[in-house]
Amino acid sequence: MKNLVRSFILIMVLLVAGFNAIPALAQSNNGNNPIITAVVDRVHVSTDETVMLTITVDLSGSSPSKPQLPSLGGFTVIRSSSGTQISLVNGVMSIQETYQYNLRPTQTGDLVIEPITVNVNGITFSTDPIRITVTQGSGNIQPVPNPSLPVMPSLPSFPSSTTFDSGIIEPGAPMDPSEPPTELAGQDFFIVAEVDKLSPYLGEQVLYTLRFYNAVRLYDDPQYQPPGFTGFWHEDQPDQANYSLQQAGRTYNVTELQTILFPTVIGETSIEPAEIIIPGGFFSNGQMLRTQPTTLDVQTLPQNAPSSYQGAVGRFDIQAGVDTNHTVINEPVTLKVTISGQGNINNLADPIWKEGPEWRAFDSQASNSIQFEGGKLAGSRTYERILVPTQAEILIIPAIEFSYFDPETSSYQTISTQSFEVVVESSGTGLTSASPDINSGSDALNNESPNNNIRPNKPAPPNWIQGSTLLTKLPGYWLLWTLPLFLLMGQLGWQQYLKRWQNDPSQRRRNEAAKKARRAVRAAYKRPAEVYDAAGQILVTFISEKLTRRISGLTQDELDELLRSEGVAEDLIERVQNCITLSESGRYAQSGENSSPKETLRRTEKLIMELDKAL
């Protein structure tokens, strides 16, 4: 039997350990990572500047809800964006969702961003509060920086060559690309970097061009290390230009890389050197070419920015339209807004939507389209906003205003869409169904075959689960696997106890002595005439059973000594003796000479309880 129990415990331990090991192994990468972190790009700002708040939520081991921003007293959110990063390292996938908020301070002083919370499976995780010191600015509001993280461009492919020569360091200065630089005097390699503007406005686009001149064949592709572009947001022109030119009697292959920069700080700002590493060959060493830093003097934007201005610099247009002017309650209208033009399209702040409570709006998913046109970044940003009317009347979708700073005219411009009137009826046919039968053939796919008819949509369930996580990812679930182990130990302990109980009558008497004594006291209450006698008897019997020996024949001193040897306190021993004495004298004394019978029994009961603890 013992062997069997041991085997059972071993099986339990092995199974529980095995089952715990698998998820622990699979989830080992996210054990110590915090679920949510929040950082800001600066803690000292002026009212002209913005703060980038980046919240990162680890989705690897759970499915948290969207982070809850606290009340941002002293700040206004002027732009937000989010993105998901998936990585698989050493066979373990991790997913992080990043939310970025551009905050503009609206008051000076020490401001606090209260803890940001995220709910994971009913448990709330929060960040630490963030303190930001805001000082009074000059009134020149800076454009909102691009929230995207700087990206290292991929290495371009350069023509090959066979020999290596010295490189030249070249200061950045605008030059005609069709003309070779004057410093190019017959070297094998040469690089030069230039910008098209040396005094741009804050947020105005600047074209940065790097040219690599190569007159020899290379063994391997050179490696391009672009500048960090600190103080700029940048967009790389994906296509490189290649052409040839003659200089100093040699033919040079020229590779041209362009990057659009958007200054984000005012004053003198340097573009760090760009580097090109030429790999070594069998008979020669590699070498590194480096440009000189280029310094720009970034101008502040003029004051008197309109209230709807949110930092756009360039030249833009705005257009909007609705898909229908006639609908019924709860049937949606799609508002499409497109902002197009030249400037930092990816960095445009979302328009301020002004629909009232008569519309239920679903967040728009903006889509960007950008292209390089003659050294400029241009494109459009389109929002499709679904608006569901909640009232049957003629409703207005308000005009949308958009302001930008035009660096060509050095002035602010405000453009706006028209407002839209939508007739909403309480009932009607509503939307004209393009495919009332969802299995009809009007789909993007050719679904004419009956076998291709997909089954229809499902209605919403009455309840759904939000922010749930797999049970197997919860430590509590795996702890439950150990529950039988504890129950088995409890069972075995109980069996042992019962066994001892049954095999040892004296031990049983000892354990039950107090209970028996209390029962006797309760019985004595019903016989007041015999109280004093009973009290002494009950006490003596209790002590005898507790010590598993007879004490009725002992003298007072012997009983004292016995109790003392059992560790009973002197005070308690004295009270035992008093009780026995009282019992004996009470039998012979006149009524009223001693304490009342009830009081005597109460004292005796208390004494038994104290002795039960002491023995």
Binding site: L15, Q27, S63, I386, S433, N453, P459, A460, I465, L471
Partner: protein, 264 residues
Amino acid sequence: MRNLIMLAVTGLVLIIGLLVAINMSAHSLEADIEAVSIANKLYESGQYDQATQILEQIISQGVQDSAIYYNLGNVYYKQGDLGRAIVNYERAALMNPRDSDIQANLTIVRNQAEQSESLPAIAAGPVDSITRLIGTWLSVDETAILALSIWFAFSLLFLVWLQLEPGKARTGMGYAALMTLLLVAVLGLSLGNRIYNEKVHPTAVVVANEITINSQPGDQYATEYSLHNGAEVILLGTQGDWAHLSTPGETLEGWIPLSAVEYV
């Protein structure tokens, strides 16, 4: 009598433990019926972009519901985006594997995407076969609850067996305990295998129209092989913006841009 009470207490504790496990991960709340209804109306009227927008927004709020993923799969299918349709049907099937609508639509879309069958496990063996079989009937959470329940049942049977005097009842109880132990082992292995595969070899679906498989992470390493929209693959790793993957049966292995796949 005392033994009987102790066993009853043990059973009660195990049942409470099971109820705790069942309620551990579920946090249900009232569904936004209006939003789903609007999305369904948009779907029925052929306004698939808008329907997608609403359903994606619901999901972005942390909602985990098989019906929402199923509906989103339908919308993507109607838009001709077989890859995203498969991804969302697969997600729905993970939550509700016994739903015949999900399985039917998944089969149709897979057929159209020339993905005739679901992915086999990387190294198909008996454990993988059992895992797949159980996976067609039970979600991960359901398997976890069932395994725990049988584990508890085995523990209780064993404790009863300990109390019984030698005889037929005790022998029968012993066999029952052994059977449950066997079931625990099968379910436990299947569960562990499933967790391991989903974590270490997650499945993904190609959502780009057609994408060339590269031998290395980089555009310059293009090969003559390509994957079509809706192809189901196993993610082996990532490097920068590139995903390392293998195709069913490990017939092909290579790299494609990470943005061209969505993991299930």
